[in-house]
C-alpha cells in the first residue's frame, strides 16, 4: 500500500483562502490565526465529541448498512465506525491540519471489508451532510465553520482516495490470489496428468501384453513393442493399418458384432479369443480385450485393445483335443469324436435330415491276434483302417475306430438306404484283396450293420443300438456281408428277449400248465398214452405254445427246472390215471430237451420223481430228438441205458428230420419212433398225396419194426391219413383227428373201459 499523501499545504491554503482577511504570504499567518483562534474551540469540540461522535457513527452505520459484507453485527459496526468518526473529528480540528486521517479512514473501511461502492458514496454523503452537525461544529458564527467545511471537503476527498486506493489494492490482491490458486491447481492437475501419463507410458511400453490404441474409425494410432513383436509388423507399419485389416476368416461372428457395439458406444468393453495372421502368415491366437475410451462428456473417442498371446496354449489345447479325439494306432477319429459328431447332428441338424451308419467289425480278427500275435494284429488294423479311410473319404464320410476291430462310417445327409448300402458294399470290397503283413497274406472279411433313417424318428442312442444289433445279424447270418436294419425283425427279437427275461419268474409264479394229447392205436382206436405238452399262460401275450418259448428256455438254461416241473406234473397225473385203471397199459410221454438229456442229474431227478409220485416206470416215456440221441457222448448214452433199464420207455421224437445213423439205431435203448408231422402231411388227401412221403413213411415203419420199435405218427388230422397209416402198419397216431391237447381232467373220460376213437368216418 502506498503511504497516505499529506494534503496539509493545500488544506492550509484552502483554509486561508476561505479567510476573508488572508492576504499575500498569509498561509503561515492564516494558519497561525486559525490555530490560535481554533485552539479553545477545538478543545470545546473535543470535550463535546463523545456524544456527537456516537450520534454520527450511528448515522454512518445506518447509511452503509447492507452496502458491503462485513463480519460484524450492527452494534459492532457502530463501534468500529465510532473510532473512525473520532479520528475524523480530531483531524478536522487538528493544528496544523492534515488530510491523511481521511485517507486512513478510507483504507480502514476497505480493510474491514466495506468493499461495496455504495459504501463509498454513502460515506462521502453522510460525512458532508451530518458530520459537522452531529459534532456540533456548525453553530459557530465567526467563520470557522466555513474553514471546517473546507477541511471536511479535503478530508472527504482524501477519504475517497484512501478508499479507492485500498479497494484497488484489495481487488488486485484478490485477483492475484485467485489466479494463483488456479495456477497451483493447474500445476497439480498437470503434474497428476504427467504422472498418470508416465505410468501409462511405462505400462504401454514395457508391458508383455500387446497394446494398441485406435480411433473409432478403426485407424491404429499407436501400438507398443509387444504387439509389434506378436504380429511381426514394425510399429510404424502397424500404424498405417486399420483394425478391420485384421479380420481372420475363422473369426467368431460375435467378435465383430461386439466391435460394432463398442464403436457405437453401446458397450464399454469386450473380451474374446481371436486369431490374427502374423505378417509372415503364421496364425497368432490372442485373448483380446477391447475397451472404449470416452471423453469428459461421455462421447466415445478411442479404443484400447490388449492382446495376450495364447497361441501356445491353443496349440497345446488343440493337440490335447486331437489326442483325446483320435485313436493313437490308426490315427482315425475315435469313438468320442464320433459320438460328438453324431450328437451334434441330432442336436443341430434340421429334423428331416437323414443319416446312415455302417457299423463294421472284422470277421475272425481274434484268430489273427491269437495266432500271429498282437503286432501283426495291430499292423492288420492299420492297413484295414487305411483302406477303409480311403473308401470313406471318397464319399466324404467320417470313419472312426470304435475300439478293437470295430469301425464305423457316418453318412451325413444321407440320400436314402441305397446310398448307405452302396457305402457298405464298397467297404466290404475294399477288403477283398488279401493283406500282406510280415510274410503272411491275410484274407480279411468284415460284417457290417447298416442303419439309415431320418433323425427326427430316432436318437443317437437308438441309432447306435440298431447298428449294433444289425452288425450282430450280419455276423449270425454268415459274416462277410452287410445286414440292413429291419425293424420287424428287431421287434421279433425284442419280443423274444422280453419273453426270455420273463421266463424264470413265470415258473415261480406258476404261469405254466401241462396239457395232454392222446396217442391212439390204429388197429382198434384204443388210447395207448398221452403226450404231455407244456403251455405258458403269459399275463400279457396269453397262452403261448412251446415253440414260442422252449428254445428260449434252452438258451437260458431254464429248460432244466422247467422240464423237471413238467415231468413231475405229468407223472403226478399219470399216477392218478394209474390208480384209475391199474390194469391198462397206458403211458405218459414227456419231452426231454437236449440240455435236459445232458443234465447229470437227469437220472436221479427222474428216479426221485417216480418214487415221489409212485408211478410205475413203464408208464413213463421220455421223448428225445434225433440229434439229442445221436450226438450223445458215451456217458449220456449210459444215462439212457440206465433209464431204459429201469423200465422207462425212450422214444425218438420228430424222427426223419435229422440225419440219423440208422445202423446205430439198433444199439440204442429206444422203444419207439415218432414220425414228424411233415411226412404225415403228404398223406393228407386221397387225390394228391405225395407218393414219396408215403414211401418214406412206409420205409420208416418197416425199419422200426425190423428193429422191434413201435411207430407213432404225429400230426394226424384226417381219416385219409389215419387209413393210410393203418395200411402202412404204423402202430399209433396223434393229432387233431383224435383230440387236441387238453387238461388232465379231460383225459379221465377217455380212460373209461370200452372207449375207443373212431379210425374211419362213421357215416350214418
Amino acid at each position: 500500500m502506498t503511504s497516505p499523501p499529506d494534503r496539509a499545504v493545500s488544506t492550509g491554503n484552502a483554509v486561508s483562502t476561505g479567510n476573508a482577511v488572508a492576504t499575500g504570504n498569509a498561509v503561515a499567518t492564516g494558519n497561525a490565526v486559525s490555530t490560535r483562534t481554533a485552539g479553545p474551540a477545538r478543545n470545546t469540540a473535543l470535550a463535546q465529541a463523545g456524544p456527537g461522535s456516537l450520534r454520527f457513527a450511528g448515522s454512518w452505520a445506518r447509511a452503509v448498512a447492507g452496502t458491503s459484507y462485513v463480519p460484524m453485527e450492527i452494534a459492532e459496526v457502530e463501534q468500529f465506525l465510532l473510532t473512525l468518526t473520532e479520528k475524523l473529528a480530531a483531524a478536522l480540528l487538528a493544528e496544523p491540519f492534515r488530510s491523511c486521517p481521511g485517507y486512513e479512514v478510507g483504507t480502514a473501511l476497505v480493510d474491514a471489508h466495506f468493499t461495496g461502492v455504495e459504501t463509498l458514496g454513502r460515506t462521502v454523503s453522510v460525512l458532508g451532510e451530518r458530520l459537522l452537525a452531529e459534532l456540533g461544529l456548525e453553530t459557530r458564527g465567526d467563520g470557522e465553520p466555513d474553514e471546517l467545511r473546507s477541511r471536511l471537503a479535503v478530508l472527504q476527498g482524501s477519504f475517497a482516495e484512501g478508499f479507492a486506493d485500498a479497494l484497488r489494492s484489495r481487488t488486485l490482491d484478490e485477483q492475484e490470489a485467485i489466479r494463483h490458486a488456479v495456477l497451483v491447481t493447474r500445476e497439480e492437475a498437470e503434474r497428476a496428468l504427467r504422472a498418470s501419463e508416465a505410468r501409462f507410458r511405462a505400462v504401454f511400453a514395457d508391458a508383455a501384453i500387446g497394446i494398441g490404441i485406435g480411433d473409432l474409425a478403426g485407424n491404429i494410432l499407436d501400438v507398443n513393442q509387444s504387439l509389434s513383436d506378436m504380429l511381426g509388423y514394425p510399429v510404424e507399419e502397424l500404424c498405417r493399418h486399420s483394425a478391420t485389416d485384421f479380420v481372420h476368416p475363422d473369426d467368431a461372428p460375435e467378435v465383430w458384432q461386439l466391435y460394432a457395439q463398442l464403436v457405437a458406444g453401446e458397450r464399454d468393453h469386450f473380451r474374446s479369443e481371436k486369431r490374427y495372421f502374423r505378417k509372415d502368415g503364421a496364425v497368432l491366437w490372442t485373448d483380446l480385450t477391447v475397451s472404449l475410451i470416452r471423453d469428459d462428456s461421455g462421447e466415445p473417442r478411442y479404443m484400447v485393445a490388449m492382446f495376450e498371446d495364447i497361441s501356445e496354449r491353443h496349440s497345446l489345447q488343440n493337440r490335447l483335443h486331437h489326442q483325446a479325439m483320435h485313436d493313437p494306432l490308426t490315427h482315425l477319429p475315435n469313438r468320442s469324436l464320433f459320438f460328438e459328431r453324431l450328437s451334434r447332428i441330432f442336436a443341430e441338424a434340421p429334423e428331416h435330415t437323414r443319416l446312415g451308419l455302417c457299423y463294421l467289425d472284422l470277421d475272425g480278427f481274434k484268430v489273427v491276434n491269437d495266432a500271429l500275435g498282437h503286432d501283426i494284429g495291430d499292423q492288420l488294423l492299420v492297413t484295414v483302417a487305411d483302406r477303409l479311410k480311403a473308401c470313406a473319404a471318397d464319399g466324404g464320410h467320417l470313419l472312426a475306430r470304435m475300439g478293437g476291430d470295430e469301425f464305423v462310417v457316418l453318412v451325413e445327409d444321407s440320400q436314402g438306404t441305397g446310398q448307405v448300402v452302396a457305402v457298405a458294399d464298397r467297404l466290404l470290397r475294399c477288403l477283398d484283396q488279401p493283406i500282406r503283413i510280415g510274410g503272411h497274406d491275410l484274407a480279411v472279411s468284415a460284417s457290417i450293420g447298416v442303419v439309415e433313417r431320418e433323425i427326427r424318428t430316432s436318437s443317437s442312442a437308438d441309432v447306435m443300438q440298431a447298428a449294433d444289433i444289425t452288425l450282430y445279424w450280419a455276423k449270425s447270418d454268415g459274416k462277410s456281408r452287410w445286414a440292413l436294419f429291419d425293424s420287424e425283425r428287431n421287434d421279433r427279437e425284442v419280443a423274444r428277449y422280453t419273453l426270455s427275461a420273463a421266463l424264470p419268474s413265470a415258473l415261480d409264479r406258476g404261469e405254466f400248465e401241462v396239457e395232454y394229447q392222446p396217442l391212439v392205436r390204429f388197429s382198434d382206436g384204443s388210447l395207448v398214452g398221452v403226450e404231455a405238452l407244456v403251455r405258458w399262460r403269459h399275463p400279457t401275450y396269453g397262452r403261448l405254445s412251446p415253440d414260442r418259448f422252449i428254445s428260449l428256455a434252452e438258451e437260458t438254461g431254464l429248460i432244466v427246472p422247467l422240464g423237471r416241473w413238467v415231468l413231475r406234473e405229468a407223472c403226478r397225473e399219470a399216477r392218478r390215471w394209474q390208480d384209475m385203471s391199474p390194469d391198462r397199459r397206458f403211458f405218459v410221454s414227456v419231452n426231454l430237451a437236449v440240455r435236459q438229456s445232458r443234465d447229470p442229474a437227469l437220472v436221479s431227478d427222474v428216479t426221485a420223481i417216480l418214487e415221489e409220485t409212485g408211478l410205475e416206470p413203464g408208464r413213463l416215456q421220455l421223448e428225445l430228438t434225433e440229434s439229442a440221441i445221436m450226438g450223445t457222448a458215451d456217458e449220456a448214452l449210459a444215462v439212457l441205458h440206465t433209464l431204459s433199464d429201469k423200465g422207462i420207455r425212450i422214444a425218438i421224437d420228430d424222427f426223419g428230420t435229422g440225419y440219423s445213423n440208422l445202423a446205430y439205431l439198433r444199439h440204442l435203448p429206444v422203444h419207439s419212433l415218432k414220425i414228424a408231422g411233415s411226412f404225415i402231411e403228404g398223406l393228407r388227401s386221397s387225390e394228391d398225396g405225395d407218393p414219396v412221403d408215403r414211401q418214406i413213411v412206409g420205409a420208416l415203419v418197416s425199419l422200426a419194426h425190423a428193429l422191434d420199435l413201435d411207430v407213432t405218427a404225429e400230426g394226424v388230422e384226417t381219416f385219409v391219413q389215419a387209413e393210410r397209416l393203418k395200411v402202412i402198419g404204423c402202430d399209433a397216431g396223434q393229432g387233431w383227428l383224435f383230440a387236441r391237447p387238453a387238461p388232465a381232467s379231460a383225459i379221465d373220460a377217455l380212460l373209461a373201459p370200452g372207449f375207443t376213437f373212431p379210425i374211419r368216418p362213421e357215416y350214418p
Partner: protein, 272 residues
C-alpha cells in the same frame, strides 16, 4: 483399464469458461476472487433478484452466529463442508478468536477454492483444507487429513452453509446427511442454510432457472423438505427459520418484518 483413468487423487479439470458457485458467492459478498464468467452469472442473478447480496450477507451472518452459538455450547472442533472461497469472516477467524487451538476443517470439491484456501491458511496449524465431494461422506470421513485434525469421538460442529441446495434429489441429500450423522459423535451439531422459494417466490424461481443453465443447478426446497434433511437431529430453538431470524444478536439485525425476503432457511440440529 483403471490405469488409463484419471487417478482419483488428481484435481479435477479446471474450466475457467464455466462459472463456479464458490467464486460467484465471493462476488455476492463483494470479493474479487472471481472471473468474468463468474461475475456475469452473479450480475444476471442480481438483476433478477436485487436482494441477493443482502441475502448472502445474511447467510454469512448466520454462519457467524451459528459458530458463536456452537462455541458457547462447548463445541471445540468444526467441519465446514462446502466452504468455498474463504473471504473475510471465516469460520476459523471466528473460532480462533475465542479458542486459537480449536481445529477447523474446510471441505470443498472445487479445486481452485481448495487451492486458494490452502494459500490463505498456510502456516495455520489449527485449520485444514480437504478436497472432497460432500456426496461421498465415507470418503470425506476417511480422509487422513480430516482424521488427523478432528477427534471424531468428540462432538463436532458441522456446517453446511448454502451447499445442500446444489445437491439434486437424485443424489439423495437426505442420505448424504444421514451418512454424515452416522459418522459424528453424539453432542455434535449440524448447522445449515438452504435456498428456498417459500418467500420471494417469483424472483427465487427466476434465479433457480438461471442456475439451471450453470454447472451447478440450484434446488430450491420448501421448509418441510429442508426439515427432512435434519432427520435424526434434535432441532435447536427456533428451529428452521428464514436466515436473519435465527437467533439475531439485536432487534435491528433480525429484519423480522421482512425475513421472508431472504429466500433462505437456516437451522441448527443436535446429534443426540
Amino acid at each position: 483399464m483403471h490405469w488409463l483413468e484419471r487417478p482419483d487423487w488428481a484435481p479435477g479439470e479446471i474450466d475457467l469458461e464455466r462459472p463456479s458457485v464458490a467464486r460467484v458467492y465471493d462476488y455476492y459478498l463483494g470479493g474479487s476472487h472471481n472471473f468474468a464468467v463468474d461475475r456475469q452469472l452473479a450480475q444476471r442473478a442480481i438483476r433478477l433478484m436485487p436482494d441477493l447480496p443482502l441475502i448472502m450477507q445474511a447467510n454469512r451472518a448466520f454462519l457467524r452466529r451459528a459458530v458463536r452459538f456452537l462455541l458457547a455450547a462447548g463445541v471445540r472442533q468444526f467441519l465446514d463442508i462446502g466452504s468455498g472461497i474463504p473471504t473475510v469472516g471465516n469460520v476459523h477467524e471466528i473460532v480462533h478468536a475465542s479458542d486459537p487451538d480449536a481445529p477447523v476443517v474446510y471441505v470443498d470439491s472445487d479445486p481452485v477454492a481448495v487451492a486458494h484456501s490452502r494459500a490463505i491458511l498456510e502456516g495455520n496449524r489449527s485449520a485444514t483444507v480437504v478436497q472432497c465431494d460432500l456426496r461421498d461422506p465415507r470418503a470425506l470421513f476417511g480422509d487422513p487429513a480430516l482424521r488427523a485434525a478432528l477427534d471424531l469421538s468428540q462432538p463436532v460442529g458441522v456446517l453446511m452453509i448454502a451447499v445442500l441446495h446444489f445437491v439434486p434429489d437424485s443424489d439423495d441429500p437426505a442420505g448424504v446427511v444421514g451418512r454424515l450423522y452416522d459418522e459424528i459423535a453424539p453432542g455434535s451439531y449440524l448447522a445449515l442454510t438452504h435456498a428456498t422459494a417459500d418467500g420471494d417466490q417469483a424472483n427465487a424461481r427466476a434465479v433457480g432457472e438461471l442456475y439451471a443453465q450453470s454447472p451447478s443447478p440450484l434446488v430450491l426446497r420448501s421448509r418441510a423438505e429442508v426439515s427432512a434433511l435434519f432427520k435424526g437431529f434434535s432441532p435447536i430453538d427456533p428451529g428452521i427459520v428464514f436466515l436473519p431470524v435465527w437467533r439475531p444478536e439485536s432487534e435491528r439485525d433480525s429484519h423480522a418484518h421482512e425475513a421472508e425476503r431472504f429466500s433462505g432457511y437456516a437451522g441448527v440440529g443436535l446429534r443426540t
